[in-house]
C-alpha cells in the first residue's frame, strides 16, 4: 500500500468517527482512499471534503469537542492554514489526529518531499505556549501504526497529535500489516470516557463548555501552568526513539523519517569503511529524545544530523549535547532527498575530518 492509503485505512480500523480534509499534493490519496472505501457504510465514519483547510481543522475542533475520534490531513501550506485551529484545539485541550505529509517550502514551494516543518510542528506553529505530540513515521508500516497510536495518545492526554510524515513516505509503496477493525465508540462509551465532551447537558450534570478563552489573567496563567505540567508528563512518559548500531558507535547520526531510512544505509556504508557509525532515530519529535542523545554524547566522537531542511532538529540535538562533542547538520532542501553517499561524505567532511 501507499503510505497515505495505509494511514487512511488504519484510521478507519482505529475506529475513527470523522475525517475532514481539503485536497493538497502530496497527500490527496488520504481523502481519495477514504471516499472510495465508503467508511460511512463500513463503520459509520463521516468523511467530508471541506471548503478549505481552515474549515477542515475547525470541523475537527467541533467533532473532537464531542468526544469523537476525528482527524484531518494536509501538506505544509495547508498545515500553515490550520495553525489557528490547532492553537485553539491545544488551548481547549481537545484530542485529535493531524497528518502532515510535508513538502518543500516556504510559500507554495514544491510538491516534493521535505522535512522543513519541524519547527512548526514541534515548537508551536500557531500562537501561544502549546505543544503537539509529534510522531515521525519512517515507513508505510509506521504510517499505519501511528494512526492508532496517535488516537490513543491524543485521548490519553487530551492533546492534538501530529503525524509528521513527508512526501516520500506518503507516496511510497511497501508491505504493511494492519490492525483488526476496532469498533467505534458508542455514545454511552463516549459519555463515560470523555465526560467533558459536549454531548448535550443532561439533568444529572453541569453544562460542558469547550473553550480556549479566559478573560481572567490569573485563570489563564493557571491554565498555562497546567498545560506545561501535561507537556512535562508527556516528555517523561512518551518519548520514543530507535537505536541502530549504537552499542559500539563512535560516530552518531540523528535523523527521522525519510532521512532516517537513507541514514541507515549511510551507517552501513560507513561500517563497510571500518567506521563505527550508529543511528538514533527519533520516533517522537515532541517529546524529543533529549536524554538518549545526551547519554550517547558521552561516548561518541561526533554527531551528524541529517534532515531535508536547512537544519531544524539540529538545534534540539545541540541543546541535548551541549558542547561535549561536535554536532553538525547535513541536509538538502527544496524537495531533494540526499543520497546515502552524500551523508557518508558529510560525515567525513564535517565530523570525522572536521
Amino acid at each position: 500500500m501507499k503510505g497515505n492509503e495505509a494511514f487512511a485505512e488504519a484510521a478507519i480500523r482505529a475506529g475513527a468517527d470523522g475525517y475532514f480534509g481539503y485536497p493538497i499534493t502530496p497527500q490527496s490519496e488520504v481523502m481519495e482512499y477514504l471516499m472510495a472505501e465508503k467508511p460511512h457504510e463500513r463503520t459509520g465514519m463521516v468523511v467530508l471534503q471541506a471548503e478549505s483547510e481552515v474549515a477542515a481543522i475547525n470541523m475537527v475542533y467541533g467533532g473532537a469537542a464531542c468526544g469523537k475520534r476525528v482527524l484531518t490531513s494536509s501538506s505544509s501550506p495547508g498545515i500553515s492554514l490550520k495553525q489557528e485551529g490547532i492553537s485553539y484545539i491545544a488551548g481547549a485541550e481537545l484530542p485529535c489526529l493531524i497528518l502532515n505529509v510535508v513538502r518543500g517550502g516556504p510559500g507554495l514551494g514544491t510538491i516534493q518531499p521535505s522535512q522543513s516543518d519541524y519547527f512548526q510542528s514541534t515548537k508551536g506553529g500557531g500562537h501561544g505556549d502549546y505543544r503537539m505530540i509529534v510522531l515521525a513515521p519512517s515507513s508505510v508500516q509506521e504510517m499505519a501504526d501511528f494512526a492508532g497510536l496517535g488516537f490513543e495518545l491524543a485521548f490519553k492526554y487530551r492533546n492534538p497529535v501530529m503525524v509528521l510524515s513527508d512526501g516520500a513516505i506518503g507516496q511510497m509503496m511497501e508491505k504493511v500489516e494492519l490492525e483488526e477493525q476496532r469498533p467505534r465508540f458508542t455514545e454511552e462509551e463516549i459519555i463515560k470516557n470523555t465526560p467533558w465532551a459536549t454531548t448535550g447537558k443532561t439533568k444529572n450534570r453541569e453544562r460542558n463548555i469547550i473553550t480556549s478563552l479566559n478573560l481572567d489573567s490569573a485563570k489563564q496563567e493557571q491554565h498555562n501552568i497546567d498545560l506545561q505540567k501535561k507537556y512535562k508528563l508527556i516528555q517523561e512518559k512518551e518519548t520514543r526513539f530507535e537505536l541502530i548500531n549504537c552499542e559500539d558507535a563512535e560516530y552518531l547520526i540523528v535523523a527521522y523519517g525519510t532521512s532516517a531510512r537513507l541514514s541507515q544505509k549511510a551507517v552501513d556504508l560507513l561500517r563497510n569503511q571500518g567506521i563505527k557509525a550508529g543511528l538514533l532515530r527519533p520516533i517522537t519529535l515532541f517529546p524529543f529524545p533529549t536524554e538518549a542523545i545526551s547519554k550517547l554524547a558521552d561516548r561518541v566522537k561526533g554527531i551528524l544530523t541529517v534532515e531535508m531542511s536547512a537544519g531544524q532538529m539540529v538545534e534540539d540535538v545541540k541543546l541535548a549535547v551541549g558542547c561535549r562533542v561536535k554536532v553538525e547538520h547535513f541536509g538538502r532542501m527544496g524537495g531533494i532527498i540526499p543520497s546515502p553517499t552524500e551523508v557518508v561524505e558529510a560525515m567525513h567532511k564535517k565530523i570525522i575530518g572536521g
Partner: protein, 258 residues
C-alpha cells in the same frame, strides 16, 4: 384594583412570566438595551418549550457573544472567529440526532466567516444559524462591519461609509436564501414585544426544522448596538426602525419546509 393587594397578585399560581432556567443567573455582559440578551433568552425559551436542553449543542464564536456559554445553560463550544458553521457541520454530522445551532454576529458571519457560512448553507447542513446583525463591530469598539449602512459612521468610517472606498454592505441573508441548501431564511428583530414574539416563533420553526433533516434554517435578527451607534437604547431602536429596516427589511425570505 382597590380590593386586591400586591401580595395577593404575586402568588405562584398567578405567575405568568419569569426568566427561563435555561439562562444562568449570571448577569449578562452586554450593554444596557442590547438585543443580544433578548435573543439569548428567546432561544433558551424555545429549547425549554421543546424540551431539548439535553440534546442541544450551541456554538458561539468571537464577538460580543463570545461569552454566550456563561449565560446559556446548555453544552456549548466556543469557536474561532468566523468558524462556527464548520464546527456545527462536524457536530451535526457526527451526532445527527442532536440539535445544533450557531450564534454569530455580522463581523463573524458576513466578513471573516463568509466562506464557512456560505458553504455550510450550500451543503445544506441540518443546522440552525442565528445571525445578529447590528451593522457594527461591537466588541472591539464600534468599527465598520460588512453590514454597516452606506453613510453610517463608525470608528473606522468616521466620516460615514463611503461605498466607493469601503464597498457596499453585504446582505448575507438574501445571499444564502439563493442557495439550495437553505430551507428557511428569515429576518426579524427583537426591539418591541410583538417583534420578540415573531422572532421567537421564527427560532422555534428553525429548531423544529432540524427534525426534517432538509437543510439550514437561517434567522437574522436585525439588532441595535447603542454603544457602537452612540445613542441611548430607546433612540437606537428608533434609529434602527428608520435606517436599518429600509435596507434590511423584516420578514420571511424563503420558506421551503414542505
Amino acid at each position: 384594583m382597590a380590593n386586591i393587594t400586591k401580595e395577593e397578585i404575586r402568588k405562584p399560581e398567578n405567575l405568568v412570566y419569569k426568566k427561563t432556567d435555561l439562562l444562568t443567573d449570571k448577569a449578562l455582559s452586554y450593554c444596557p438595551g442590547c438585543g443580544h440578551g433578548t435573543t439569548h433568552r428567546i432561544i433558551m425559551e424555545v429549547l425549554e418549550e421543546m424540551d431539548i436542553q439535553d440534546k442541544t449543542i450551541g456554538i458561539a464564536p468571537v464577538g460580543c457573544s463570545v461569552l454566550a456559554y456563561d449565560f446559556m445553560n446548555i453544552d456549548m463550544q466556543q469557536a474561532a472567529h468566523g468558524r462556527a458553521p464548520a464546527l456545527a457541520t462536524a457536530i451535526k454530522r457526527l451526532m445527527p440526532e442532536k440539535f445544533v445551532f450557531t450564534y454569530q454576529g455580522d463581523g463573524d458571519l458576513a466578513a471573516i466567516g463568509t466562506a464557512e457560512t456560505i458553504h455550510a448553507c450550500n451543503r445544506g447542513e441540518n443546522i440552525v444559524i442565528i445571525f445578529i446583525n447590528n451593522g457594527i463591530y461591537g466588541m472591539t469598539g464600534g468599527q465598520m462591519a460588512p453590514t454597516t449602512l452606506p453613510g453610517m459612521k463608525s470608528s473606522t468610517s468616521p466620516y460615514g461609509r463611503d461605498t466607493h472606498l469601503m464597498g457596499n454592505p453585504l446582505k448575507m441573508t438574501e445571499l444564502v436564501a439563493q442557495l439550495p441548501g437553505t430551507i428557511y431564511v428569515t429576518r426579524q428583530s427583537v426591539h418591541t414585544p410583538s417583534n420578540v414574539r415573531k422572532t421567537k416563533k421564527a427560532i422555534r420553526k428553525a429548531f423544529e426544522n432540524q427534525k426534517l433533516n432538509k437543510g439550514v434554517s437561517f434567522v437574522e435578527v436585525v439588532s441595535n448596538c447603542n454603544s457602537g451607534w452612540k445613542m441611548t437604547p430607546v433612540q437606537s431602536n428608533k434609529w434602527m426602525e428608520e435606517n436599518m429596516f429600509p435596507f434590511y427589511p423584516l420578514g420571511d425570505i424563503k420558506v421551503n419546509t414542505d
